[in-house]
């Protein structure tokens, strides 16, 4: 899962990015509206965290312009909790909003819910071939036994399971699992896939030669 943070306060941007990375997300960050909008338009993020008060282009404008092209889920960060501001945010096309100051667990939960809804999934629990995945707790178990996955491995599994039945290309996986700061070696993905197969059984992730991976 790849997330874009558009936030101009450097300390906030840094710590939010770090926290999300530690949650297993690939995170890009932008410090002003213009570069944020550019990123949002060029890369298919799974969700965008958007501050309202931004230099160059404010959050409303970024959202308005983005919505003419994409429906990436957007979580707005607002320092104003006045009702008209929240309504304006939702009406402009935001999917959710959080009022500053916020708690990290709340941001995490809202992002998970946004991503889940964006792939038309209501419940946080999923089960495929004896493997249960709890997207809320980020835990995976097989036959009732908890399985330990790294953050990247979990992200890979969740991304595939949320698109169950679809063939997910390698490019797509690279785009959503790694951010700008990752040194993406071409075989890194294969390493993660084989690790997941080792832990959860070889038959769970099927390889479509020349196309990508899928979970049936």
């Amino acid at each position: 899962m790849r997330i874009l943070i558009i936030e101009d306060e450097p300390d906030l941007q840094r710590s939010l990015a770090q926290a999300l990375r530690e949650e297993g997300y690939a995170v890009d960050a932008a410090s002003d509206g213009e570069s944020g909008l550019f990123n949002a338009e060029t890369i298919d993020y799974d969700a965008i965290v958007l501050d309202i008060m931004l230099p160059k282009l404010d959050g409303w404008e970024v959202l308005r312009r983005l919505r003419t092209k994409k429906k990436t889920p957007v979580l707005m960060l607002t320092a104003r909790d006045a009702m008209p501001d929240r309504v304006k945010g939702l009406d402009t096309g935001a999917d959710d909003y959080v009022i500053k100051p916020f708690d990290l667990p709340e941001i995490f939960a809202r992002l998970r819910a946004l991503i889940r809804r964006s792939v038309n999934l209501a419940a946080p629990h999923l089960e495929v071939g004896g493997v249960t995945i709890d997207t809320a707790a980020r835990r995976v178990s097989r036959g009732g036994r908890p399985i330990d996955l790294t953050a990247r491995e979990y992200a890979l599994l969740e991304y595939l399971i949320l698109r169950r039945g679809e063939v997910v290309t390698r490019t797509q996986l690279y785009e959503h699992l790694f951010d700008e700061n990752d040194e993406t070696m071409s075989n890194l993905l294969d390493v993660h896939v084989s690790n997941v197969r080792k832990k959860l059984g070889a038959e769970l992730i099927a390889t479509r030669r020349g196309q990508g991976y899928t979970i049936e």
């Binding site: 300390d11 906030l12 926290a19 160059k56 009022i99 100051p101």
Partner: protein, 481 residues
């Protein structure tokens, strides 16, 4: 609402009472007039009936000539009484249900000489005293009307002392009078009802603007400051009150809006540093970190806390300035000294960006609170440093002109765009709404400077054309002596 405390009800009660009094006196007068009219008519009737009776008693020839009453000696002897009524007169006194006239004739010694059949029994009126004892000097008393119960009669003393009483039952008149009284009461009642209804309507109309005013006031006291009272008649007394109230409400509304905006801005300014501290600490605490990571988190927290401290100091300063001038300690001092002290204080801020100060300060004695005023100057200087370019310059001039000390602070920064210029002294106003610089001030510095200058009875203004730097000018009245 207690009825007796309501103006509407009190007006209505007074109006009702006055109406009742007027109607009652009118009714009473009408009743009296009617009764008098009846009595007069009866009296006329009785007067008309009396002569035939008198004549019948003393046929014309039998009467002593006028003016020849025997003044002395015993009265002439009584002749046998005989009443010779003309037929038409007799008819009047005939006993019948429809006939109500009667007569009674008494001799002077009190004997009853004649009476008509329908005359009421004696005892109804006090007996007429015999006139014999009064002697021959007795003068004929005038006919006298008297009423008892439902009978009115005329009493007439004849010269010899005989008494003729002609009477009439007033039963019918009494009934008529009662009917008239009821009619009057009914009419009065109807008029009273209409009067009360009209009074109610007029009072309600007169009071309605007060209701509107109080309804609006209630809403405003509940917090809806957008309320205004409808003004239908701006010229009337209530219209003038309404205008005054409306302008008061407008001032209240704008004062509250300002206050609300200020509070919301202040809260908003605090939210971002709090967010930084929360995310920093929550991230750091999620797992074990290296010393370097902890240090980075703590540094970020410190920056956020410093920012909050600056903000809180500024807010307190503003609150104190808003509260009034009781903390001000004005004294005569040289403004040039205050300014050069301020320059020394902010020089460390200017040096890293290699900004130079050029000061031309003429000594000017003014009466100000030196400490406070120094803060205003410092705020202007920090502003000039912050919005200056690297290697920029700050020009300070202080001169006296027309009894004013004029201090100008000019920088070589990008200047202030014309659309922002009118707002630079507003609280929390910043030309660029973002807060990309953590060290940036919250946009209170100039607002504080303005409050301080104004509290010291000075003025401050900003001038700039984009690209040519900004100039702030403070004008203070010079000390007289």
């Amino acid at each position: 609402m207690n009825l007796f405390h309501s103006i509407k009800w009190r007006l209505q009660i007074w109006h009702g009472l006055i109406l009742v009094a007027v109607l009652a006196s009118l009714g009473f007068t009408a009743y009296q007039l009617e009764r008098n009219r009846q009595n007069r008519r009866l009296d006329d009737d009785l007067e008309r009936l009396f002569p035939p009776l008198a004549n019948a008693m003393h046929p014309p020839g039998d009467r002593p000539p006028p003016g020849e009453f025997p003044d002395e000696g015993p009265p002439p002897p009584r002749r046998a009484f005989h009443l010779n009524l003309p037929p038409n007169a007799a008819e009047w006194f005939a006993a019948s249900d429809s006939n109500r006239y009667y007569y009674v004739i008494q001799s002077r010694d009190g004997h009853e000489l004649a009476r008509s059949t329908n005359a009421p029994a004696e005892g109804m009126f006090p007996p007429i005293p015999p006139t014999v004892s009064e002697g021959p000097n007795h003068r004929q008393p005038p006919p006298r009307m008297r009423t008892s119960g439902q009978v009115r009669e005329l009493v007439h003393f004849l010269p010899p002392g005989d008494v003729i009483r002609v009477g009439c039952s007033t039963e019918w008149e009494a009934r008529e009078l009662t009917r008239t009284a009821w009619k009057l009461a009914g009419a009065g009642g109807v008029i009273l009802l209409f009067g009360l209804a009209g009074g109610w309507w007029i009072t309600a109309r007169a009071i309605r603007p007060i209701h509107d005013i109080s309804a609006a006031a209630v809403k405003i006291s509940a917090g809806d400051f957008s309320q205004r009272i409808d003004m239908t008649e701006p010229e009337s007394e209530l219209g003038q009150i309404t205008a005054v109230l409306n302008s008061t409400f407008a001032r209240l509304e704008s004062a509250f809006a300002e206050q609300r905006q200020f509070t919301s801005d202040a809260a908003h300014e605090l939210r971002t540093p709090v967010s930084v501290m929360l995310t920093q600490t929550q991230t750091a605490l999620q797992r074990e970190r290296t010393a370097k990571e902890y240090r980075a988190s703590l540094e970020a927290c410190e920056r956020a806390a410093q920012r909050m401290r600056r903000l809180i100091t500024s807010l307190l300063e503003l609150a104190r300035l808003d509260a009034g001038q009781e903390h001000f300690r004005p004294a005569v001092c040289d403004l040039a000294e205050i300014v050069s002290d301020a320059v020394e204080l902010v020089r460390p801020l200017a040096e890293p960006r290699r900004i130079k100060f050029h000061a031309k300060l003429a000594p000017s004695l003014v009466t100000v609170d030196a400490e406070r005023f120094g803060r205003a100057v410092i705020n202007l200087l920090t502003n000039a440093i912050q919005y200056n370019r690297e290697d920029g310059e700050i020009w300070l001039t202080l001169e006296t002109q027309n009894g004013l000390a004029i201090l100008t602070v000019r920088d070589t920064g990008p200047g202030i765009a014309a659309e922002h210029l009118p707002h630079v002294f507003e609280r929390f106003y910043r030309a660029d709404p973002s807060r990309s610089d953590v060290t940036a001030h919250a946009g209170l510095g100039l607002a504080i400077a303005k409050s301080i200058v104004q509290a010291n009875s000075g003025t401050i203004e900003a001038a700039s054309s984009a690209g040519e730097g900004a100039a702030f000018t403070i004008r203070l009245p010079l000390c007289r002596d």
